[in-house]
């Protein structure tokens, strides 16, 4: 998995048409200076050697110097990663909890207004572009009604003091997190509702009712526990899309995050920076992937048995 990401990354950002060095230097540079720069980025070696050098440096998190900012890429990423993780983590938590709850409620009240709402919000989250919804939110709550800041992660200059700083941060992150949660929740609720409807139609739920169990036992112990493993699968499948969402959200709200860094790097032909941010985002996906794999094993006894040897 990691190997595949490395190869793809190399292909994407190193074997691009055109001379990467050409984008950062003045056309008036002397050929000697150009060659020196090429040597600095290792571009004078053969491709396989370049690849090996690249693998080595990537795995040691030595991403080189950004063409655009002239600072080490690692430093740039280090200052941005927490924001991206916070943005994705919080909105994911909110949307999955809210979505699961509403999806289950909708499945338990078939034909209700709530169920119709969930079905609609699912359709909306599959058809409305995220940036459109975010732009509308910005226009409504930051421009027309200036309740929230238009852009940025912190005020300039940032307020002094720990609590004021944290408050300022949350104030800036409120709209981005809210919008991502809003967009994620519809699809999530729809999935949960569909799964739950299927589970509630299963024999074992009917038999749990035959045993005279209270409703909350049936819903939580029998239905919800059965729902968890497939829910995790969906979670896993939705991760790449969520990471993609970070690029757009950070761009719309001008947040100091990895996604927007990637966009800037890509449009500015800053190969080291683009490659490193892509690698980091892919790593984030892989990490979350492993985590949900692990959780899957815990929640589903059928899997636990199959994988007894592994974990």
């Amino acid at each position: 998995m990691l190997a595949a990401v490395l190869v793809l990354n190399f292909l994407l950002f190193r074997m691009m048409p055109g001379d990467p060095v050409a984008s950062i230097i003045d056309p008036n540079f002397s050929p000697e200076a150009k060659a020196a720069l090429s040597r600095m980025y290792g571009l004078d070696k053969s491709l396989p050697v370049q690849f090996l050098l690249y693998v080595k440096s990537t795995l040691t998190f030595d991403f080189g110097i950004s063409f655009l900012t002239g600072r080490p890429v690692l430093d740039e990423l280090r200052s941005r990663l927490p924001n991206t993780v916070f943005l994705l983590g919080t909105s994911l938590l909110i949307s999955s909890f809210l979505g699961t709850w509403l999806g289950m409620a909708a499945a338990l009240r078939r034909g209700s207004l709530l169920e119709k709402g969930v079905l609609w919000s699912g359709a909306v989250s599959f058809s409305f572009p995220s940036f459109f919804v975010q732009l509308l939110l910005l226009m409504a709550f930051a421009s027309a009604l200036p309740l929230f800041p238009l852009r940025g992660t912190l005020s300039v200059p940032p307020p002094p003091g720990g609590w004021a700083l944290a408050g300022d941060y949350l104030w800036h992150m409120a709209l981005p997190v809210f919008s991502l949660s809003l967009l994620g929740f519809g699809g999530w609720a729809l999935y949960v509702r569909n799964l739950m409807v299927k589970i509630l139609g299963e024999d074992f739920i009917l038999l749990a009712r035959a045993r005279g169990l209270p409703r909350k036992n049936i819903v939580w112990r029998h239905a919800f526990r059965t729902l968890l493993p497939p829910l995790l699968t969906i979670f896993l499948l939705s991760l790449p899309g969520i990471v993609s969402g970070a690029v757009i959200t950070e761009t719309v709200f001008s947040l100091h995050g990895v996604g927007r860094f990637l966009l800037e790097a890509v449009t500015g032909h800053d190969y080291p920076a683009a490659g490193a941010s892509f690698f980091l985002l892919a790593l984030l996906t892989i990490g979350a992937n492993l985590l949900s794999d692990l959780l899957y094993g815990i929640t589903d006894p059928r899997v636990r048995l199959d994988r007894g040897g592994r974990g």
Binding site: F132, L150, P240, S244, V247, T251, L262, F278
Partner: protein
């Protein structure tokens, strides 16, 4: 078939296709043309603002009156389109109180702008005076006419830049948003349909191959699918779009190369269930070549499901294209809904509060996606339910 005719989505799609093909004929100017002042509001909005007007005076119609109930227009300009100058004739402006101002003589190739010094002086204003304000002191009936002795040919055009224009207003460059919107339908439909077609073709080939061949071919292909499914799509697309080219067809190709995996999975699962159906086994027993079985029997059997997954895949492609365009990674010369939103964000739709720049493209994308979702659901219901359950994870 008759059930299809009852779906709103079918008719909406038909209407949009019609707009995509014939839509630009309803506009006098191409969508790139700058037709009015930047950020003009739609005509139906904020009726206290003056609309943009163009008045043409000809020998047949040498005088035009206009009712004015607005503040002065943002700009004023006059252009003559004459085969030759006509001495003794001039364009005269009459205000509601009856006072008259001579705007310009009827000279060949004359272009006058309200901001020109000479024009201001001719009106008796200081260099810092406001010509439009002087021409429109209040509301009432104004008249502009060619006056004087002698014949003339050609026309005189007077343009009053207002704050309102067209059905949907204008963008930051003064382009007609309605025309841009119509141009965007075409791109979204083109990208959505072609990217999905190519992706479906790829996915079907891979799925049929994996399902029918089995063994290591199958496991290799499925590993590839798993891999591609777990990589964040947008960053890859961004890199490809930025480095390999931004053209529409490149974009379609890039999108389809990275969105065939779902179809491949579905088709593989279907092929697996169908492969062991007795009559297929019988065909194999009779010595029918694999290619023949695949083409003549497995493919037709999977067709209804294929159609449904294909239709359901279109919104994904449309949204991806819109996302890339929104990030500014599309060809700036190609007008698309995503591009319109990109420009709305980067060129100050917020500071000018121009929400009419956001709504048409955004709602357009959403509406188009909803259409395909509904059609896909319709096709899914029609497809063999046995096959569908086999195709879902």
């Amino acid at each position: 078939m008759s059930a299809l005719l009852k779906r709103w989505s079918f008719w909406s799609l038909l209407a949009l296709v019609f707009i995509a093909i014939f839509g630009n004929r309803f506009f006098a100017a191409p969508p790139e043309a700058e037709v009015a002042a930047s950020f003009s509001k739609p005509l139906w909005l904020d009726r206290s603002l003056p609309p943009t007007r163009e008045i043409t005076l000809t020998p047949e119609e040498p005088s035009v009156t206009l009712e004015w109930a607005y503040p002065p227009p943002a700009a004023f300009s006059l252009r003559t389109d004459l085969p030759e100058s006509a001495a003794g004739l001039s364009v005269v402006w009459r205000r509601p109180d009856g006072s008259e101002l001579t705007l310009a003589p009827l000279k060949k190739g004359l272009e006058v702008d309200g901001r020109d010094m000479a024009f201001k002086r001719a009106l008796g204003l200081t260099p810092f005076g406001d010509a439009a304000g002087a021409l429109f002191p209040g509301s009432g009936r104004y008249e502009v006419s060619v006056k004087g002795e002698g014949p003339w040919k050609g026309s005189v055009k007077i343009r009053l830049e207002g704050g309102r224009w067209g059905l949907l207003g204008t963008d930051q460059r003064g382009r007609d948003i309605a025309a841009l919107f119509v141009a965007g339908v075409r791109v979204s439909l083109l990208v959505g349909i072609f990217a999905t077609l190519i992706a479906t073709f790829l996915g079907t080939s891979v799925g049929l191959l994996a399902g029918y061949a089995g063994g290591w071919t199958d496991s290799l292909l499925m590993r590839l699918v798993d891999l591609l499914l777990s990589i964040p799509l947008l960053p890859v697309l961004m890199a490809l779009a930025a480095f390999w080219g931004k053209g529409l067809w490149q974009l379609i190709l890039i999108l389809s190369v990275f969105s065939w995996m779902g179809t491949a999975r579905t088709i593989r699962a279907l092929t697996l269930t169908l492969r062991d159906v007795p009559y297929i086994e019988g065909l194999r027993g009779l010595g029918a070549p694999s290619g023949y079985i695949l083409r003549r029997h497995l493919l037709p059997e999977t067709l209804p499901v294929l159609l449904a997954t294909m239709t359901l895949g279109v919104p994904g492609a449309i949204l991806s294209e819109a996302g890339l365009s929104f990030l500014g990674l599309s060809d700036p010369r190609v007008i698309s809904w995503g591009r319109m939103l990109h420009e709305a964000q980067s060129f100050g739709a917020f500071t000018s509060g121009a929400w009419w720049m956001l709504l048409p493209p955004g709602l357009g994308i959403a509406f188009l996606c909803l259409i395909f979702l509904d059609l896909g659901k319709f096709l899914e219901e029609r497809a063999d339910p046995r096959l569908l359950s086999g195709g879902k994870p």
